[in-house]
């Protein structure tokens, strides 16, 4: 017996890229979208859309190596960061075309997108044409697969070259007669704004920012073989998951502040509040990969419920009210206000661990003094207001930074 719904559901739908999204929550190109049955299940469970895992022209060799996963286990959070040495899908365009057709037929209201990767101009264009014919809603182009590449320059990602990015994006855009195209870029560049401008110049409709980060996930300190371990060998991984969220936020905001182009956010989102943050710095929709690989499609329930609750609480009429809300607050360092700030310890909340004391003593300005009561006290003279202690303190609200009145 399933329970009867007793609460009204809030409409989270809105338009983006000329398409109607049921909610901002879509699946990123990854294993979860590489199989028809899995995407079906995701749609039935409430995901608004999916980007089918990156496909290629028939005959393209995809030479996978296993095991491909590893983790950044931080402080007991096993999947704080996740590493993979996966490549693009083993399924070629014929298979993906079929999946697009089936999914659009069964779920006309869902967004069905596909990700592509190729080398030659005609292959890029052929992929676009065939997907358009199959009825895809938009196309994402992987310019940033961190392992292997089919670009001109071995060991380099397409999106690391500004001319190559612009040129290839132009080919794709030229072929796309009906549907929008998004270019999935990498944060591994000196100036992300330059890349975004190149995409904009190409005429492509949007940017997907960004992708996994190249990383060395860890090393077995007894055998010295790094992870993942393949019979004594290893290689660099693409790191995803919560650990990369701050980097993605920076990438998205940097693009949004400088280039007028729609952005699809990906990289480190696990919860509805992460999605709010992504949208607040300029993402139009938010893609999920690692969080789904960890907990399954069922996380969609909290994503939608939490987002609805949040909109109610903020009295926002639409999802779009979140868009870019954080950007006006972002300035360069020299534009920041210069004020006198002092740390303040709320004595009644203190649990006497003295963590703030030792942090300030050895990593701050020796501005916190011990007391016989074990409740530390901040020296007004020595405290510069750096804010370290606030984050070291295990008790929420115990230490706060107070702005001193001007004198």
């Amino acid at each position: 017996m399933t329970d009867i719904d007793i609460y009204p559901t809030r409409d989270l739908s809105y338009d983006f890229l000329g398409l109607r999204f049921e909610s901002p929550f879509i699946l990123a190109a990854a294993p979860s979208t590489d199989n028809l049955e899995m995407v079906r299940r995701a749609f039935q469970m409430g995901w608004a859309g999916a980007i089918l895992k990156t496909t290629s022209i028939e005959g393209t060799r995809v030479d996978l190596a296993y095991p491909m996963m590893s983790t950044f286990n931080h402080d007991g959070k096993k999947l704080f960061g996740m590493g993979n040495i996966d490549l693009i899908s083993e399924h070629h365009i014929d298979n993906v075309e079929y999946n697009v057709r089936m999914l659009k037929k069964e779920f006309p209201e869902k967004i069905v997108a596909a990700s592509i990767m190729a080398g030659r101009k005609e292959d890029w264009q052929r992929l676009v044409e065939r997907l358009e014919a199959a009825g895809v809603d938009f196309i994402e182009c992987s310019f940033s697969c961190p392992q292997g590449n089919i670009g001109e320059d071995p060991g380099k990602m397409l999106a690391q070259s500004i001319p190559a990015t612009e040129l290839t994006a132009r080919w794709v855009k030229e072929a796309a007669k009906r549907v929008p195209v998004s270019i999935k870029i990498t944060p591994h560049v000196t100036d992300i704004v330059e890349v975004a401008k190149a995409v904009k110049r190409s005429g492509a409709d949007a940017l997907t920012a960004s992708n996994s980060l190249q990383a060395l996930m860890g090393i077995d300190i007894r055998t010295f073989v790094p992870y993942p371990q393949l019979n004594g060998r290893s290689t660099y991984s693409g790191m995803t998951g919560p650990a990369i969220k701050p980097i993605t936020l920076k990438t998205i905001s940097e693009i949004a502040r400088n280039v007028d182009i729609p952005i699809l956010g990906t990289g480190g989102a696990s919860t509805w509040s992460d999605a709010v943050e992504f949208m607040a710095v300029g993402a139009g929709v938010v893609q999920f990969c690692t969080a789904v690989m960890h907990h399954g499609f069922r996380i969609i329930d909290d994503l939608k419920s939490g987002m609805s609750q949040y909109l109610d609480e903020m009295q926002f009429g639409s999802m779009k009210d979140i868009w870019r809300k954080a950007l006006p607050h972002l300035v360069t360092h020299d534009e920041l206000p210069r004020r006198t700030v002092r740390s303040h310890i709320n004595d009644p909340l203190c649990i006497e661990c003295e963590a703030c004391y030792v942090a300030c003593r050895d990593g701050g300005h020796m501005a916190i003094d011990r007391r016989p009561t074990r409740i530390p006290v901040v020296s007004e003279d020595r405290c510069v207001g750096c804010g370290l202690c606030e984050y070291v303190c295990p008790v929420e609200g115990c230490i706060e930074m107070r702005v001193q009145p001007m004198n």
């Binding site: 017996m1 009867i4 009204p8 919860t271 509805w272 329930d301 419920s305 939490g306």
Partner: protein, 419 residues
């Protein structure tokens, strides 16, 4: 104890988020426990409360007093690694957060034009009434004692406050018509006539008697009367300084703890078997012991002493025999020449209950005298369904709610088939 937000988040982070989770299976109303816990973790506390409340009509009541040690928490997989998740406390944290911030508004339940009756407004009746209302029925609830049943009238206030009960029933009450009246045989016949389907959730309510001399002396109380009086009069109640409780179940422990809370100096529990055989939740036993309740195990009351008022109770030692009874527990036998007297200003008899409602004579009943139902909770009278303690003896709130809910769906099916 209500968790602080920080405690709740820390505890929620320990949850393994099992798939097809054993905790959910073990919960009689099948609350999606990993889901609501993950919502607490993500900061979506109202969403968490909604998950709980979508499955459970008495979410706050059970958040406070559900015996998690026999349900969800007893099967928590985390316990295989270290200690189980404090599921009930997380549940209560979420539902209280919602109750305190104003009930989230419910959607409209389109009416289907049919009338249904619910007799008894305890957990089973309320569970059924709310479910019927979700299904579109015009629901009429009858109970002489207000809304809440045992949780309202008998569960001691120090375990479940009026506000906590209110945080559930205030919301439910908007979804049916309430008639504050007792239902006798005549009224039952009338209600049956006027409604397309009827649910009986009359619970038990009648204390069993010891059947020994002195039971009618002043100061001897059937346990429900004792608990109800204590709840009604609060700290003004006075039962004297030495209280003897007879019985070995949770209800006797509640009575013992109540006596202690009211200031009795010596509270003694007399039970004819040993601690092993008590049908109690460990947490309640521990609590009673902590309060200083003394236990006289292997003792059988023989006579209540006193002229007009009780002054003591004569008991006889027992020992456990090889024979077992229908509950699988060894039968106690009396030890000759072992009588002893406990002084008492009050004696509380808590040895079980029977159905009180007089109209149950209409129904076929089980050997123990409970209303007989089939697997769809239908009684021997077509169109009349029953659930809760009245069909199986003293159970738990969550089981009663679950049965009321299931019965509502059976009633719905029953009426569908007839149209």
């Amino acid at each position: 104890m209500l968790l602080t937000p920080q405690q709740a988040v820390t505890e929620s982070q320990r949850c393994l988020y099992c798939f097809d989770a054993p905790c959910t299976q073990a919960c009689p109303v099948h609350i999606d426990i990993p889901k609501f816990i993950s919502m607490i973790k993500s900061g979506n506390v109202i969403g968490a409360a909604k998950v709980v409340k979508s499955s459970h009509a008495l979410a706050n009541v059970c958040g406070k007093v559900c015996p998690e040690e026999i349900f969800c928490q007893s099967v928590c997989n985390r316990a295989k690694q270290d200690t189980p998740i404090h599921i009930r406390e997380l549940h209560f944290f979420a539902t209280q957060h919602e109750a305190k911030n104003g009930f989230a508004s419910l959607r409209e339940f389109p009416k289907n034009g049919k009338k249904a009756a619910v007799i008894g407004a305890g957990p089973s009746g309320l569970g059924c009434a709310f479910e019927l209302s979700k299904l579109g029925y015009d629901v009429h609830v009858y109970d002489a004692k207000g809304l809440g049943g045992v949780p309202k009238n008998s569960i001691p206030a120090f375990r479940l406050s009026e506000e906590e009960l209110g945080s559930d029933v205030d919301l439910l009450a908007r979804h049916f018509h309430f008639h504050e009246t007792s239902v006798d045989s005549e009224a039952f016949a009338r209600i049956r006539q006027q409604h397309e389907a009827t649910f009986i959730g009359v619970g038990l309510g009648l204390d069993k008697r010891l059947g020994i001399t002195g039971e009618d002396l002043k100061g001897v109380y059937p346990v429900l009367e004792f608990l109800e009086r204590a709840k009604e009069n609060g700290s003004r109640s006075n039962f004297g300084s030495r209280v003897v409780i007879v019985g070995g179940g949770n209800v006797s422990l509640d009575a013992a703890a109540t006596a202690k809370h009211l200031g009795a100096k010596e509270v003694t529990l007399v039970y004819r078997r040993s601690e092993m055989e008590m049908k109690v939740w460990k947490s309640e036993l521990l609590e009673a012991k902590k309060l200083g309740v003394q236990m006289q195990f292997l003792a059988q009351p023989m006579q209540i002493l006193g002229e007009e008022r009780v002054r003591g109770i004569r008991c006889r030692r027992t020992r456990l025999s090889e024979k077992v009874d229908s509950t699988g527990r060894p039968v106690p036998v009396e030890v000759p020449n072992s009588d002893f007297v406990l002084d008492a200003d009050a004696v509380v008899v808590a040895i079980g209950q029977q159905i009180h409602a007089e109209f149950v004579h209409f129904f076929e009943r089980t050997k123990q005298g409970f209303i007989k139902v089939d697997e769809a909770f239908q009684t021997s009278l077509p169109g009349i369904f029953a659930g809760g303690d009245a069909i199986a003896g003293e159970g738990t709130i969550v089981q009663a709610v679950a049965q009321g809910k299931q019965a509502a769906h059976s009633m719905h099916e029953y009426l569908k088939d007839r149209n």
